[in-house]
Subunit: 458 residues, 2 copies
């Protein structure tokens, strides 16, 4: 590729909305975790789908990589540019194109963040439920098939997007799905694009489902003597069909970090944090049933948070866990793992992971979305200490191996990017080759986010 | 293709489980709706995934069409063999390979029907919720992305299958997804295969999610003066977040057919049929709230059915609607339409359809899954009367056009097959070409269910 010719053409299209400044390139070539800096050659800030299409056409002519960018909160290096090329930053595309309260849906641009959308929705009585913690963009969340704390009730991005506008690798624009709540019309291109991490196209608009704000909400935290007791409490709650809106597990090490950073006073034991949404009555009924189940499993020190401020404090603490934990060891970096297993194997997976981390001499607090069988360890390492980094990588590797042996997956919600590429063959076998065939069919020049997700071109 | 050579090879593989008898070919070449008979050249009854793989390899060598077959309840000609070839009937593959109560999931073979699965599950306290009415096979339901009366609560096949074993067009076997409840690991091949109607591969096993049988269930029917009143009642109920397990609409003409066939005594007016699942208390609360909303919209003659036998009678009547309606005019055939629109447009769509059918001089009762915005008209015609058939086809065409103008879809749950192929360009535009590219990448010889869903090869 000839990057001078590309930037010339893009400058004609975008004017000042094309940047090659060092600071911009650096901002778009960094990651929150352990990946090395990988800058693009230029950053484009399109305002319209048509501009995105023109950018991709120019890049296709020049066989130049195209990397989509939201706000850079991805954890597996999805937005890095290891082969350079043009970063397409969607910050100028954050409009709500349509909001239909009667249909409880909206059409939004990819650069809008989930908090911005929910702020706009506040007065309507509706909200967008997917909550990965970070205030990510909706385009990024769709591209990585994000989920988070509320997936146990409301599903992941896969369940909350009914259609997409996508710019393909040759600049063609498609609309997938429709505004109908379901469809049996042809291949599910919406689902194919969700989780494709920009390797098949760039998402330029999303049709999202909205939910009615529940009449009543209540949340609680509760401690357990053992991880098994906490997990068995979760299993029993699910089997009873209790519609939890959230159910989160934090281990003793995570609690210790909360106590320091959030000045909380939680007992240093494994905890569950739960939330119920419904009518006044149904929430009270669910809370009571959950309390009984938790007590049977030795649940201790129950604290209910019915008031909004109390709940916000609780979930802010949970959402800031990554920062609390990494700040507990200044100067460290981290590998954030993300396995998901069938729930019957969850206690085993967590216990074996804790033992393994301890044996490796590492610090790696564990927390997760236990209703889905999904949990993370934040494996910390001193970037100056190669041995520690290697041990952290090996522990992360063993977590994934454990998950796959348990019929689970290498990633519940963070995606593949560059960080999990080497597990794909093992997890999917021939299926990974099929992904490569689809990629080759839709992006024969391999310009869309190259080096991520699919098998390297041989 | 050389069908003699193919049947010879298949006979070696399958022995008596290969049939070329006229009666078998006829059984596999018929449809329940208006399609003309289209027989395969042979019918294979494999017992294992390995045998399916061998069958497909033999067919690939000979460029011979391969058509999957469950029990033949598809409504758009998906299982017909317009180009002949080998029909793969899954009736010998109906095992439950695994049932994990703690994980609330099961691995089943594609020939098992949903009623057979639920019979097996009865003692466990679990059930499989997707209910398209017909006692279809689970493989067929996945291949057509089926849904039905319970989708408003439990989702479609897309939402209830976490993984698939699939034999590809070259005989390779892949496992998509995993038993984890969610995953962000690569392209969503499970969703790509669900709804692909056998054009990308043959499903040989499914990992399905199961639900806990609710503690309490209650159902009701209720009449409304107008279609608008019934639909507005539904919209308000959804906006309040009431978790209906089913909410079905039937028009006056459908009620008349029920009254004759099921010896019911319903008022000849539009009706809603609803069902709630939950605890004793939450069901009572939901039923009361629904009763209030319905009354505000002029709901009349409420009848609650808390007893199982009463509910079964209610839903049997609904499930047999297709037969009640077609039997109301002996000797007739039917076009079963299946549009789905945003719910704000539902009343318009139904009213315009009823007016259109009346103006066409046809009989076409309407019923549908109104919680999803999905409804059907069963357009009857005398097979001897070409003018009537043409008018029915045109009315069906206008229904789809109306749905697409309303941002909806040509098919909510019946799929494309041969019957809706000519709407694909209009509904998906360039997206249909993308489907063709994926098809060409995964089935370059075009042997998997040719003539369905994707653009014809030019």
């Amino acid at each position: 590729m000839n990057i001078e010719r590309i930037t010339q053409k893009l400058r004609v299209l975008l004017g000042e909305r094309l940047s090659v400044s060092k600071s911009d390139l650096d901002l778009h070539g960094r990651s929150e975790t352990h990946f090395t800096q990988a800058n693009p050659d230029a950053v484009a800030y399109p305002k319209t789908t048509q501009e995105v299409s023109e950018i991709v056409k120019i890049c296709a002519q020049e066989h130049c990589p195209v990397v989509g960018f939201g706000v850079g909160t991805s954890l597996e290096g999805q937005a890095l540019a290891p082969l350079g090329g043009v970063c397409v930053d969607f910050r100028e595309m954050r409009a709500i194109r349509g909001l239909r309260q009667e249909d409880m849906d909206a059409t939004v641009e990819p650069g809008l963040t989930r908090e911005e959308l929910n702020d706009e929705l506040r007065a309507t009585g509706l909200f967008f439920p997917v909550d990965p913690g970070a205030n990510a963009t909706l385009g990024g969340m769709a591209a990585t098939r994000a989920s988070g704390t509320t997936a146990v009730r409301y599903g992941t991005m896969r369940d909350n997007v009914t259609g997409l506008e996508v710019v393909l690798a040759d600049g063609r624009i498609i609309q997938t799905g429709s505004r109908a709540r379901k469809s049996a019309s042809g291949y599910d291109l919406t689902s194919l694009m969700i989780g494709s991490e920009g390797t098949l196209g760039l998402i330029t608009a999303l049709d999202v489902k909205l939910q009615g704000q529940p009449e009543a909400v209540t949340a609680a935290i509760c401690a357990f003597e053992t991880i098994d007791a906490a997990v068995n409490c979760v299993i029993e709650t699910i089997q009873l069909g209790l519609a939890m809106a959230r159910i989160e597990f934090v281990d003793t090490a995570s609690v210790a970090a909360f106590n320091v950073q959030a000045k909380a006073e939680m007992q240093e034991m494994p905890h569950l944090m739960v939330e119920f949404h419904g009518t006044e009555f149904s929430v009270a009924e669910m809370a009571e049933t959950f309390g009984e189940i938790a007590s049977e499993h030795g649940g201790l020190g129950f604290q209910w948070a019915a008031r909004r401020e109390e709940r916000d404090a609780l979930w802010n603490m949970r959402h800031n866990a990554f920062y609390s934990i990494t700040q507990s060891r200044p100067g460290c970096r981290s590998i954030v793992t993300d396995i998901c297993v069938p729930i019957s194997r969850l206690a085993d997976a967590v216990n074996e992971t804790i033992a393994d981390i301890a044996a490796s001499g590492l610090t790696g607090p564990i927390l997760g979305h236990v209703g889905d069988g999904n949990f993370h360890s934040i494996l910390m390492f001193d970037p100056e200490n190669q041995s520690e980094f290697q041990r952290a990588k090996q522990a992360a590797e063993r977590m994934v191996e454990r998950a796959l042996e348990m019929d689970g997956t290498a990633t519940g919600e963070h995606g593949i990017g560059m960080g999990k590429l080497h597990y794909m063959e093992r997890e999917h076998g021939v299926g990974w080759q099929v992904m490569g065939s689809i990629k080759a069919a839709l992006d024969p020049l391999n310009i869309m986010n190259p080096g991520k997700l699919v098998p390297p071109k041989s």
